[in-house]
Each structure stands twice: as structure tokens, then as C-alpha cells.
């Protein structure tokens, strides 16, 4: 028998959690907490202030099945079932209200089917009830994540306990929105900005299944409610800006970007200034976040879509990426190189010429990176036919930029696979523009000779200085004779 206190949650959660926290000193070795110890700490179980029960079990009177009732009575029964489903159950407490939980689950299931196949069930009274039921179930304060120690890339996410019900509510809502009878003009009274705002907050849920449903829900809402579009874009804007500049924490970035991808894809031409601003002020800075790997694929897709819509944006985009080029994180560098290749795949030759110099200066640095994956990824550009054709057209500009690093790493790089790839690149350049290549080789060689000569002279000078008997040579005023 589990005790429900007045303030419901804290007592029950304390009773449930058996976390034995070890003292801080054991945790840390050399100042870094050991991962094994971190994992051993049991995760604090979810608690929620939602479930404020009075101590008595929830009772719902079972209603007849919709299919067993004649058609004229169905709409009213439908409303009653919706009202019943407004009751929320505490899934933290695995033993309570089992029968009622099952009843709600089967009711929800029934509603999902009903919405999918029925005709003429959607009366005007249904709309507010539907929205109410959905709101009661999904809108809640999300529990705080397991603090700063939660690494989205490594740790398992905390899944939503009431998923058996929640999933069906989402499923129901989506089918409702997609129903042939759905009328946005009626719905917009209930699905308003306040609703959307709460929906967006849910994107921070740790449960990826929930975020996936939310993504579909928001996508449909954006599609059907033209009046909410500007508001939604504005709010997503705010979420991203907060994410980038304040918290660096938000779990739903990938899903929001996926929605944005489908929106960008549908932009009308010429692009509105608002959208261009969004690209430059929000999407590009998104690249600076530490957890980029979680949403990079979606972000890159958005960027490329923008460029396909308006090629004149290429220069600001690439300059932006170069400005934010990762300096210490090689994993990010590899991602950037991947994205850059995607951009180059669709670039127009006139745009390419504008940014080729700063671009290849960066590529030249990447190619000489001691991190072999970065070097490898950069060198692989030369296997891309379209990029090769662009390079060929502009070899007189690009070759001098790349030459020195390529030549140097062919002699100095530690990784033999990289050396082999460099050979391919140098060979390609050789065939592209032999005269220029020979000139550069000659210059490089003579530069190296000069350097070696200088070094030798310097060494000899030092030797001479050493040979000088400084002690004896020192005059009384401290001046060393030359």
C-alpha cells in the first residue's frame, strides 16, 4: 500500500527512489568524475506535481462502445468519452488504479479508430472537448533532466512513464488534425497561440518518441493554420536563440529543424527578408553549439535548402561557417567538412569564384591537420566530380593556395593513408595545370633551399658566438666586442 501525501509527489518519489549517493570524494579522480561511478548512481525517478490525488482511487463509469450505439447517439457519446479521458493517471505508482488505467487506454484506442474511419462525427462542440482532453494529457511541466551530467550523446534518455496513454493521445490528435472533416476555421478558436506555446515547450522532452509525435503535430498545425505561422516561426526563433546564447540545453532542436526543413522547402521566391535574417542570425550560429552532432544532419539540410532557393546567400553562409570553424573539436570539424561538401555540391560557379580564396585557405589548413580524419575528409573532396570541375576552372587561383601544405604533408604526415591520398590530389593538380605546378614546385624548392641556408647560417653564427671567449672578451663597461 503506497502512501499518498498531501503534496503527492515528493513522498512517493522518496519512497521509490533508493539512490545511494556516494560521497563526492569517491566520485572524482584527477578532478574528473569517473563515468562508471556516474552510471552506478541510480537515476532519480520522475516525479510530477500533476498527480495530486485526494487519496481515493479514481473511478470512471464504463461507457458503452461507440460501435454498439446507434449513429445519432454517437457524437454525444464521443464527447463523454473525451471528457473521461481528461483524467490523468500516475504511472510512477505502478500499482494504483490498474483497472482504470486499462479502461482509459482502451477508450483512447477506440477514439483513435473512431476518428480515423468515421464520418459526420465532428460537431462544433467536439473541437473544444478534443483540445481540452489533449491539453490535460500532454501539457505538463517536464521533470528536470538528470542535471548537468546528462550527456545526450552517451546516456540513455529518461523515457516518459505514462507513454501507454500519452502515445494514444498523440496518435488521436494527429488523426483528428488530418481528418477530412477537420475545419481549421472552427479549430483556430481553440488551437491558438497559447496552445502552440505550450506545445513548443514540450519539445524539450527527453523521450524521443514524444518528440517525434510533437514534430508531426506541429508540422500539421503549421500547415493548416496560416494565422499561426508567423507566431510559430517567431517562437522557434526564440527557442534557438536561447539555446545558442543562454542555455545550450534543449532536446528538441533536431525535430524543430526537421519541421523548418519542410517549411524552407516551401518558401516562395523571392525570399522574404525575415527568412534571410533567420538564416544568418539563427541557423549559422547554431553551428557553434557543443552538441552539434545531435542535429547536424537536419541543420545541414536546412542550410542546403536555403541555398537552393536563393544562391546569392552562398557567400554569407560560407563566410559564416568559416568564421565559426571549429578550432579545437575535430569531430565538429569533420561535420563542418561534410556540410561544406554538401553546399559545394549545389553551388553555382559564379558564387564559387567569390569565396574560393578564403574557402581553400581553410581547406588547406584542414588537409594539413594532424588529426587524420579531418585531413582524410578534406582530401576526399578531390574525389567529388563537380568540385573537381570547379577546381579545374579556377586552378590558377586554387593551386597556389593548396600547394605548400600538400607538398609539405606528403613528406611529413605520420599517417600513410593520408600520404597516399595526397598523392592522388597532387597528381590531379599536375594533370590540371602542368606549367603552374612546375613553377610552384620550383619556387617551393628554392624557398626551402633558402630556408635551409638561413638555418645553417644561424647555426654557424651561434657556434661562433659560443667559440668566442666571452668571459675574457667582456670589457669593463660590459660590451662584448664583435
Amino acid at each position: 500500500m503506497v502512501v499518498h501525501g498531501d503534496t503527492g509527489a515528493p513522498l512517493s518519489s522518496r519512497a521509490m527512489s533508493s539512490a545511494a549517493t556516494t560521497s563526492p570524494s569517491v566520485d572524482k579522480v584527477d578532478g574528473f568524475s569517473r563515468k562508471s561511478v556516474r552510471k552506478a548512481k541510480q537515476k532519480r525517478s520522475q516525479s510530477s506535481s500533476q498527480f495530486r490525488s485526494q487519496g481515493k482511487p479514481i473511478e470512471l463509469t464504463p461507457l458503452p462502445l461507440l460501435k454498439d450505439v446507434p449513429a445519432p447517439e454517437q457524437p454525444e457519446l464521443f464527447l463523454k468519452k473525451l471528457q473521461q479521458c481528461c483524467t490523468v493517471f500516475d504511472f510512477m505508482d505502478t500499482l494504483s488504479d490498474l483497472k482504470m488505467k486499462e479502461y482509459k487506454r482502451s477508450t483512447l484506442n477506440e477514439l483513435v479508430d473512431y476518428v480515423t474511419v468515421s464520418r459526420g462525427y465532428l460537431t462544433e462542440q467536439a473541437y473544444p472537448e478534443v483540445v481540452k482532453m489533449v491539453s490535460h494529457n500532454i501539457f505538463r511541466t517536464l521533470p528536470p533532466s538528470d542535471s548537468n551530467e546528462f550527456d545526450p550523446e552517451e546516456d540513455e534518455p529518461t523515457l516518459e512513464a505514462s507513454w501507454p496513454h500519452l502515445q494514444l493521445v498523440y496518435e488521436f490528435f494527429i488523426r483528428f488534425l488530418e481528418s477530412q472533416e477537420f475545419q481549421p476555421s472552427i479549430a483556430k478558436k481553440y488551437i491558438d497561440q497559447k496552445f502552440v506555446l505550450q506545445l513548443l515547450e514540450l519539445f524539450d522532452s527527453e523521450d524521443p518518441r514524444e518528440r517525434d509525435y510533437l514534430k508531426t503535430v506541429l508540422h500539421r498545425i503549421y500547415g493548416k493554420f496560416l494565422g499561426l505561422r508567423a507566431f510559430i516561426r517567431k517562437q522557434i526563433n526564440n527557442i534557438f536563440l536561447r539555446f545558442v546564447y543562454e542555455t545550450e540545453h534543449f532536446n528538441g532542436v533536431a525535430e524543430l529543424l526537421e519541421i523548418l526543413g519542410s517549411i524552407i522547402n516551401g518558401f516562395a521566391l523571392p525570399l522574404k527578408a525575415e527568412h534571410k535574417q533567420f538564416l544568418v542570425k539563427v541557423l549559422i550560429p547554431l553551428h557553434t553549439v557543443r552538441s552539434l552532432s545531435l542535429f547536424h544532419a537536419q541543420l545541414a539540410y536546412c542550410i542546403v535548402q536555403f541555398l537552393e532557393k536563393d544562391p546569392t546567400l552562398t557567400e554569407p553562409v560560407i563566410r559564416g561557417l568559416l568564421k565559426f570553424w571549429p578550432k579545437t573539436c575535430s569531430q565538429k570539424e569533420v561535420m563542418f567538412l561534410g556540410e561544406l561538401e554538401e553546399i559545394l555540391d549545389v553551388i553555382e560557379p559564379t558564387q564559387f569564384v567569390k569565396i574560393q580564396e578564403p574557402l581553400f585557405k581553410q581547406i588547406s589548413r584542414c588537409v594539413s591537420s594532424p588529426h587524420f580524419q579531418v585531413a582524410e575528409r578534406a582530401l576526399y573532396y578531390w574525389n567529388n566530380e563537380y568540385i573537381m570541375s570547379l577546381i579545374e576552372e579556377n586552378s590558377s587561383v586554387i593551386l597556389p593556395i593548396m600547394f605548400a601544405s600538400l607538398y609539405r604533408i606528403s613528406k611529413e604526415h605520420w599517417n600513410p593513408a593520408i600520404v597516399a591520398l595526397v598523392y592522388n590530389v597532387l597528381k590531379a593538380f599536375m594533370e590540371m595545370n602542368s606549367t603552374l605546378f612546375d613553377e610552384l614546385t620550383a619556387t617551393y624548392k628554392s624557398d626551402r633551399q633558402r630556408e635551409k641556408k638561413k638555418e645553417k647560417e644561424r647555426e654557424e653564427l651561434w657556434k661562433k658566438l659560443e667559440d668566442l671567449e666571452l668571459k675574457r672578451g667582456l670589457r669593463s663597461d660590459g660590451i662584448i666586442p664583435t
Binding site: G227, K234, I263, G266, A268, A273, E376, K427, E431, A442
Partner: protein
Amino acid sequence: MDAFKLMKELRVNYEQEVFYQPKETGLSLIESTTQDDSRISAKCRDAKVEDLWSLTSFFGYRTQTFVLAVNLLDRFLAMMRIQPKHLSCVSLSCLDMAARVTEDECNLTSTDELIRIGQCRFTVSDLGRMEKIVAEKLNFKSKAITALTFLHLYHRIALSHSTDRKESLSLEKLEAQLKACLCRISFSKAKPSILALSLLRQEIDAIQSEDMLEIAYHIQRHLKIADGELLLWSDRVAQCLSDYASPECSKPNHRKLQWIVSRRTAQNLHSYRSVPELPTIPESCWDESESEDSCEDAMSSGEESLSSSLGSDAEGPFFPLHLRRQKHRQYLHT
């Protein structure tokens, strides 16, 4: 060095060069072969020589190594019929042999590295055996008189005669041009002394030096080279060099090259090119004008944000128009 001694050396080399020339009939045979799997064609040989040049350059070998390697290769191909599939082994052996003769020991690249970079399929021992075969067939010890030998001699002669003009005849440039010519099998039929002289003449014409021209004539007379022959090869050289220097680049045949990347990199390639699951939502021109809620709702920041974000574009056609419509609508509602 003493001009007289140089001329004497020139004479000696001139008399000897014929022993190091590939058989003309053999070369002609290669030239006349069409693309075939059983015989080496000119195109085949030329491509291989270009590869040799790439490798020479990559490993930092001298031009002399390259020229010697090509000389060995041509001599061998002119006397032995080999299958195209063995060509890379033969050419690499020639390069290795030439390198051992010309380069310092510390600069030599190991044979397995040669094979790895050259992306060849045979083994180190295969290479060793081939080298022995080539050396045997050619009676090769270490000496070969090539066009480079003559180029160097001509250059020194020119230097010794006109000390004030020593900057203008660039030996490096001449070497690069020689390399370009050697990439075509037809030039292997020329006598090295004549080929070198043609190159010299081209360069002299380019820099337009009377003195140099004098020296070139002097050499020609000394070696008793016929005008006709010199002219013939000069024309061909001119043609070749104009192709070499042309701004039009030959499209690199990089498809032949292997691009081996690590597993992790290979996994991440093209990971972004996935078709998105969500269907496109087309933007309508009157998106914003449908939003009656957004101007009435107290929470709305949509309206202000729209005008502020479009602020910079206030001149745009869509900015004033839709606002005007909004105001109109508002009026209607009150």
C-alpha cells in the same frame, strides 16, 4: 670550366649517344599499335610516363632520375614485346633503378612505399625480379647519355661564354620542358643531342638573345648537325611546348586513382543526403494576412515581430501592402 674542354666533352658524348638510344623500329611499332590488350600502344606508354613523372615529383627525385627512367623504359619497350598488364611493373623498376643511380641513399624511397603510392598490384619481390631482367637486357650499369646530359652541357657552355647573361637561360625551365616532351613517345626517336638543341633554340627565341643564338649555331656547327633535322625537331618541340603551356588544362583522369578512406570516414559520407520525412509546406503570399487572431490576441508578438524583422526591407512590395490590409481588416471588425 674551360670552354675548350666542354666542347671536347660534348663531342665525346655526341659520339656515344647512339648506344643509349632505343631502337627506332621498336618505337615505331609501339606508335603504330592501336589500343589493344596484347600490345603496348603509344597512349599506354605516354600515360605511364606521366605517372612516372608524378611519382618523381612526389618523392622529390631529380629530373635526371626521371629522364634516365624514361630512357631505360623506352629502350626496354623497343626491344621486348610485353603485355600492357606488366607495364606498371616495368616502369616502376626503371624508376627505382634510375633512382639508385642518381639519388643519394638517404633520399631513396623504399620499394614497398613506391608500390603503395603508385597503387600497383605486384609485390616487392616481383619488382626485384623485373629490375634484374631490365638490367640484363639493357646491359645497364649506371651510365646513360640522355637529352638531359646535353642540356646540362649546353647550359654550361652558354654560361662560360657570356657571363653577364647567366640569369636569362633558366636550366630549370629547360628541364621542365624536356620533361613535357619526354611524355610523348615520338620524342624518344630524336637524337638526344638534337632534341636538347631544339629545346635550347626554343628558349633562346623566347628570350631573344643574339649572343645565345651565336652560341647555339656554334654548337650546331661543332657537332655537324644538319639544318633540316634541327628544323624538323624544333617544329615538333614548338608544338609540344605550346600544348604544355596552354591555359586549357587536360581533364585529370582521376577516376583511375583509388581513393581509400578509413571506415569511419566512409560511414559518415553522404549521411546527410536523406530524403526528409515531412512533406513540404508551401508558403503562401497571404500567410500573414490571414492572421486575424494575431492582431487581436493580447499575447501576440507575431505582428510586431513581423514588422520589425521586415524593417530593413521596408521598401519591399510585401511590407506596406499586407499591413495596409491588416489595418483595413481591423477597421472592419470594430
